[in-house]
């Protein structure tokens, strides 16, 4: 089989459909090409492995999302269990089955449409298919509500991949995170399907107006309406037994995925840490405003402003965004100092958008997209600052040449 594929590849080399074939080939087997000149030191950490590691970190979130989709659906119908037991109420086949038949079609559409566009563009441009969509295709199902109509998803994926990525030159050249571009498109194009209390529970939209009507508002949705009377405890928020987009609810599993990415050195811990600090800082400022009684209780911002600062990390997509979206190596900052600034501002603005714009109960995707745009600027000034500092060091440096003719070489070393 392997040999046969290698032969087919040779036969089709230079043909129009060659990139499409090569993509499948290299996905299944490692290619048989060898370099003939230059260095032969190779790392196993190619783009494909990077992508697979991220997908691996996302799988727990996806599985949890399937169970949660079922749990939210049945609980909305039958009432939430009084004595919650993980195995009796959550990890059940009923829950998983319902989750699987609602979530898997989203995954299939996301990958199907996205990869189809990648293949078409690779054939038109005559370059190899890049692996960039593997992660995007997995992220998309996790950040949309469970009942998103599949055709809307298909339109959004097509838009996100073409306008968000391919027009800039494909994987590695994009300015904006494609998964978030898709999310933003869905949000602005079909707002009724992306917010409100009907979309987070499977079946709620169909049952609207009937005697069986069910609903499930997110924690942020409650807060934005100024209500703090939601039935979810802190541990529910942390473990993720709350309504929300498919894979974003479980802070615990996101944390585990994040640790996995940090220890496998795929994602930047600087961005994650500084984003957490940024969100805490903004949360503290808001808590401080409430404590100082600068805003009245009837203010429409009161509910979200008085929300305990660290709990912002447990609800909505903030944790998911910080771990899996902000750390995208293509669209984020590249310099270490830049990563601190970039991450901090993401956390800071996410909480700010959440509070000040109740029309958008979730601001994480907007904050990350905004900082994606500014990432190159941040890097530019970090690099400029570095050059300036080293120039200054050169000016003040005293050079003690051992031998006179070595002075020039020593001077360049000091820089």
């Amino acid at each position: 089989m392997k040999e046969k594929l290698h032969q087919i590849k040779l036969k089709y080399r230079g043909k129009k459909m060659a990139p499409a074939f090569n993509a499948i080939h290299t996905f299944l087997y490692s290619p048989n090409e060898t370099t003939h000149s230059g260095s032969h030191v190779r790392s196993a950490d190619d783009l494909k492995r990077t992508m697979n590691t991220v997908i691996l970190a996302l799988v727990p979130c996806l599985l949890f999302g399937m169970f949660n989709a079922g749990y939210q659906h049945y609980s909305a119908i039958n009432g939430f269990p009084a004595e919650f037991s993980l195995f009796e109420h959550f990890l059940t086949w009923d829950n998983f089955w319902l989750g699987a038949i609602t979530v898997l079609p989203i995954v299939v559409v996301s990958y199907g449409v996205g990869l189809a566009i990648e293949f078409i563009f690779a054939v038109i441009k005559g370059h190899e298919v890049e692996e960039g969509y593997l992660v995007t295709g997995m992220l998309v199902p996790l950040i949309v509500p469970v009942d998103t109509p599949l055709w809307m998803l298909a339109v959004a994926v097509a838009f996100g991949v073409v306008i968000g990525k391919e027009v800039f030159g494909g994987t590695g050249m994009n300015i904006l995170n494609p998964a978030l571009t898709i999310r933003a498109f869905l949000f602005f194009a079909y707002p009724t399907w992306m917010s409100g209390d009907q979309v987070w529970v499977h079946g709620a939209v169909e049952r609207t107006g009937t005697a069986d009507a069910i609903s499930g508002e997110t924690v942020l949705g409650y807060l934005a309406q100024g209500s703090t009377e939601f039935a979810y405890s802190l541990s529910d928020m942390f473990y993720g037994f709350i309504p929300g987009s498919v894979g974003e609810t479980s802070t615990l599993l996101i944390l585990l995925g994040g640790l996995f990415l940090v220890f496998s050195k795929i994602a930047s811990w600087r961005i994650m840490l500084s984003a957490v600090i940024g969100s805490l800082a903004m949360g503290l400022i808001f808590n401080g405003i409430v404590a100082a009684e600068w805003i009245p209780v009837y203010s429409k911002f009161y509910g979200l402003m008085s929300f305990e600062y660290w709990q912002h990390l447990l609800v909505g997509g903030l944790a998911f965004g910080i771990v899996f979206m902000a750390t995208d190596p293509v669209t984020g900052s590249q310099t270490n100092r830049g990563k601190w600034i970039y991450g901090f501002l993401i956390g800071f603005m996410s909480v700010m958008i959440r509070v000040f714009n109740p029309g958008y109960p979730e601001g994480v995707f907007l904050a990350i997209l905004l900082m994606n745009v500014f990432a190159p600027t941040i890097d530019h000034y970090v690099v400029r600052g570095n050059i300036k500092r080293r120039m200054k060091r050169l000016k003040t440096a005293t050079i003690h040449p051992k031998v006179t003719d070595g002075a020039e070489a020593l001077k360049t070393e000091t820089v």
């Binding site: 055709w151 306008i163 027009v167 602005f188 194009a189 079909y190």
Partner: protein, 215 residues
């Protein structure tokens, strides 16, 4: 015999495609973003600009030898402001609803870069007939893009064309809406126009490689 000589015909045809004011020179973008959510508004805007630019170019061309070059911008502004006020008053008198939709953007035709650009670049150096053709041509090029953008934005964003529902009734769920189709709210907001114009530029340049600038 052709109605226009080849050279004169090019004055009109060139700005329609290969030297289009919006997609090639990237002028007049603000109004293209602001008023193209509806096809009707796009069409009225296009007609207004055709009138202002066509007549304005002739007036400037006739006066080109008597305008002191130091104050030519002021003279141009007076000419274009006069014409725009005429358009604005006509709209207010005969199409009040539409002039509400267009709001300040009729008045802002004064600052449309295409108009000042053609006055400066063409009308000041050419005779009235040529200037007239050039003005009509450039305004048509502007109008064509406006109408294309307006067509897609209204069709996808509201499901209507010239205000007439063409995809069925979104509330009663008839026509295409019966299948679960919904209007795309993104197309209503101005950033969508930027993306539609971008796609037009993309298509145009991939069809005509000569338009791509050296990197």
């Amino acid at each position: 015999m052709a109605l226009l000589s080849k050279k004169d015909a090019n004055l009109i045809l060139d700005p329609l495609a290969d030297n289009n004011p919006i997609t090639i020179q990237v002028l007049g973008i603000c109004s293209a973003l602001a008023i193209t959510a509806e096809l009707k508004a796009s069409l009225v805007m296009a007609i207004s600009v055709i009138f202002v630019l066509g007549v304005g170019n002739v007036v400037i061309s006739l006066m080109r030898n008597v305008i002191p070059s130091k104050i030519r911008i002021i003279v141009q502004l007076i000419v274009v402001a006069t014409l725009v006020i005429i358009v604005d008053q006509v709209l207010k008198a005969f199409a009040y609803e539409l002039s509400k939709t267009l709001s300040v953007f009729v008045g802002l035709i004064i600052t449309n870069c295409i108009i000042m650009g053609r006055f400066e670049a063409f009308a000041l150096g050419n005779g009235p007939w040529k200037s007239f053709l050039d003005g009509i041509g450039n305004a048509l090029g502007y109008g064509v893009i406006l109408i294309i953008v307006g067509f897609f934005r209204e069709l996808l964003g509201s499901g209507t064309l010239f205000g007439i529902p063409v995809l069925g009734d979104p509330i009663a769920k008839t026509g295409l809406y019966a299948t679960g189709y919904e209007n795309n709210g993104f197309m209503i907001i101005p950033p969508a126009a930027l993306i539609v114009v971008g796609i037009i530029i993309w298509v145009q340049r991939s069809r005509n490689k000569a338009l791509i600038e050296e990197a």
